[in-house]
């Protein structure tokens, strides 16, 4: 399948008089692995929120997995996220009191899946990120890299059409970061579409495709790698 998973047309976003995104056009096709790279304040987080349907653009149109978002209600957007979009955050956002498998199973809570099935699929997802030996560990007992892999498992447990990762290695040391990136690559190799938002040019350069954001504009020019691929 090679249709567009994310299709942004002339997307603009303003907060009051401040324009954060300027007429962005971007298409992400199924099976792609893409980096959106830019310094802080460049508008990449706003991009992520709009692509993830957590926020609505001021103008322009967006479709996710073939569904036009423009006419979806709040409930419709929630359903779209539940079925098609997986999120990975810089700071993991795991429930400290719940085990790894419970945290991952929460990813299916809003998709109408039975509890036993949620746990079974959560254990499978943890195995895919290489944490089958950490099912009953709680986040405080896990390393930073392991926590991020639990968060990735939570995002992919629903088999989303696209995985949106916001600075997934930003809170990790370089070894753990490399490990998390390897997991994302493997998932992509298995067919998951991955979009990584980062300020890290090295990370972006290591991915098959990258686009650059600056002051709310998407740079058409390809990015020049400035360091070694990780």
């Amino acid at each position: 399948m090679n249709g567009p998973v994310l299709d942004l047309r002339q997307i603009s976003k303003s907060y009051g008089d401040t324009r954060v995104l300027h007429s962005i056009d971007l298409t992400v096709t199924a099976g792609e692995m893409l980096a959106i790279v830019g310094p802080s304040g460049s508008g990449k987080s706003t991009m992520l929120n709009i692509m993830g349907t957590l926020d609505r653009p001021t103008s322009g149109s967006l479709s996710v997995a073939g569904h036009s978002v423009d006419h979806l209600s709040d409930d419709g957007l929630a359903e779209l996220r539940a079925l098609h979009i997986g999120f990975v955050f810089q700071h993991f956002h795991l429930a400290a009191g719940a085990t790894a498998v419970e945290n991952v199973a929460d990813g299916l809570l809003y998709s109408g899946v039975e509890r036993a099935e949620r746990r079974r699929r959560a254990a499978e997802a943890l195995e895919r990120v290489g944490l089958s030996h950490r099912l009953t560990h709680r986040p405080p007992m896990l390393s930073g890299g392991e926590k991020q892999r639990v968060a990735i498992a939570r995002a992919i447990v629903r088999n989303p059409s696209v995985l949106l990762a916001d600075e997934p290695t930003g809170a990790l040391d370089s070894a753990s970061g490399a490990n998390v990136l390897a997991v994302l690559r493997e998932l992509n190799a298995d067919g998951t579409t991955v979009v990584v938002i980062t300020h890290d040019r090295d990370l972006a350069g290591a991915l098959p495709r990258s686009v650059r954001m600056l002051d709310g504009h998407l740079s058409p020019a390809p990015l020049e790698p400035t360091g070694l691929p990780r």
Binding site: N49, G52, H71, A78, Y110
Partner: protein
């Protein structure tokens, strides 16, 4: 946007979040903040415990009074000497007890006459001025029988033989005495073995019985009762009864009541007054009910304060958990899923406090009632009402925080992390 919004992208039923999952989320939310949960549940628990205990103690006390009234009956009338226009007491004739007993509708009657100047002492060594406020009364008829009184020990004055009755005109052997409960306590006598003696009017009397408190005639508790004949011959009793108790046919109580003054003292208009001692107990039972109402109101205020505590806790919880709300929205939670989660958490918090409060209130009721000698009674409606009001309180205190949680935009919830 002018076009109607679309709520669904998929076809087929959307199951949403199951109630069991919401319950689990709520419990998990409480479990992660045990101290705060316990403190705010305590507020509810105190309110509910106060309400349950107030209702329980009121019911226990009323059950006790009802039991007493059932045992004693409400058909006893008390006759006492009337007052003249100048305020002087008009003495009843010596035959008054018998005359009262002959009134149609009176089932049984008895009376006592105060022996003026006579007092009861533990021994002959006690100075005569140390009366301890105890008096001596001549007993006409079976007083404990009419008042349904029980004995701590021993029994009533012995029925006289025919020869004694002919000479004495009443019953009771000359040297016998029965002590009221207060009198026995004051004299330090707690049982009758046959050897106990008391000193009355310059001679020894042997104690044959000790009464339990007389609920229908509490003013007789500090008296020593002696036979009329002995009181007359040895203590100078004038023969006039000062108090008569009559048990009437309950169906004819009102009629008997109007006849009694005339029967007790036929010679003088308004020469006797009649009252119904059980009225005081009925009044006490009624006043307990109104007092319960007042205390219940105070309990309700405590509950309200507890509810505000829960609301406060939930508002803080929502502020603290903005990141969790954001993540859940990102995972596909709808606004109503978030609202339900926090509402259920608030309900569980209040219910936890309510359940603890009901148990606490019941325990307090049982302990206090048993200590008072009341039958412990915790009405089912009080328990149900207590739990029901916590559900209402939990729901009301949860509505605002929960709808606030639901209205947090997912982006700002995540940005707060």
């Amino acid at each position: 946007m002018t076009a109607a919004k679309v709520n669904r992208i998929a076809t087929g039923p959307r199951t949403g979040v199951r109630f069991g999952d919401l319950l689990r989320l709520g419990l998990f939310g409480l479990r992660t903040r045990p101290t705060r949960v316990l403190l705010s549940a305590l507020g509810i628990a105190i309110g509910i415990a106060a309400m349950v205990a107030v209702v329980g103690l009121g019911s226990s006390s009323r059950a006790q009074l009802t039991g007493v009234l059932d045992r004693l009956g409400t058909n006893v009338l008390a006759v006492s000497p009337g007052k003249s226009l100048t305020g002087d007491t008009i003495p009843l004739p010596a035959t008054a007890v018998g005359q009262v007993g002959r009134v149609p509708g009176v089932l049984e009657s008895a009376g006592t006459g105060l022996v003026v100047g006579a007092h009861v002492y533990r021994t002959d060594k006690i100075p005569t001025l140390q009366t301890k406020g105890l008096d001596v009364r001549a007993a006409f008829g079976d007083l404990p029988g009419v008042l349904r009184a029980r004995f701590v020990s021993g029994g009533w004055l012995r029925e006289p033989g025919p020869s004694e009755a002919a000479t004495a005109g009443s019953f009771g052997s000359p040297s016998e005495v029965v002590l009221g409960h207060g009198a026995a306590t004051a004299l330090g006598i707690d049982r009758v073995t046959g050897a106990e003696r008391v000193w009355i009017g310059g001679s020894w009397w042997s104690v044959v019985g000790i009464l339990e408190p007389l609920t229908l005639a509490p003013d007789l508790d500090s008296s020593a009762f002696v036979p009329v004949a002995a009181a007359t011959s040895r203590l100078g009793f004038d023969g006039a009864p000062t108090q008569i108790s009559a048990r009437a046919d309950p169906e004819r109580l009102d009629g008997v009541r109007t006849l009694l003054p005339r029967a007790a003292n036929p010679a003088v208009e308004a020469g006797a007054t009649v009252s119904r001692p059980s009225d005081a107990l009925e009044a006490q039972r009624a006043s307990e009910a109104s007092f319960t109402g007042l205390l219940l109101g105070l309990g309700l205020v405590a509950l309200l304060v507890g509810g505000i505590g829960v609301a406060n806790t939930m508002v803080i919880t929502v502020l603290e958990r903005r990141a969790e709300i954001g993540v859940r929205r990102a995972l596909g939670a709808r606004r109503r899923n978030i609202r339900d989660q926090f509402l259920i958490e608030s309900l569980l918090l209040a219910l936890l406090g309510g359940a603890c409060g009901v148990v606490l209130g019941a325990v307090v009721t049982v302990i206090f009632a048993v200590a008072q000698g009341w039958p412990p009674t915790v009405p089912v409606w009080a328990v149900a009402g207590g739990l029901g009001s916590t559900v209402v309180i939990g729901g009301l205190s949860g509505i605002y925080p929960a709808s606030r949680a639901a209205s947090v935009p997912p982006t700002s919830a995540l940005a707060a992390a």
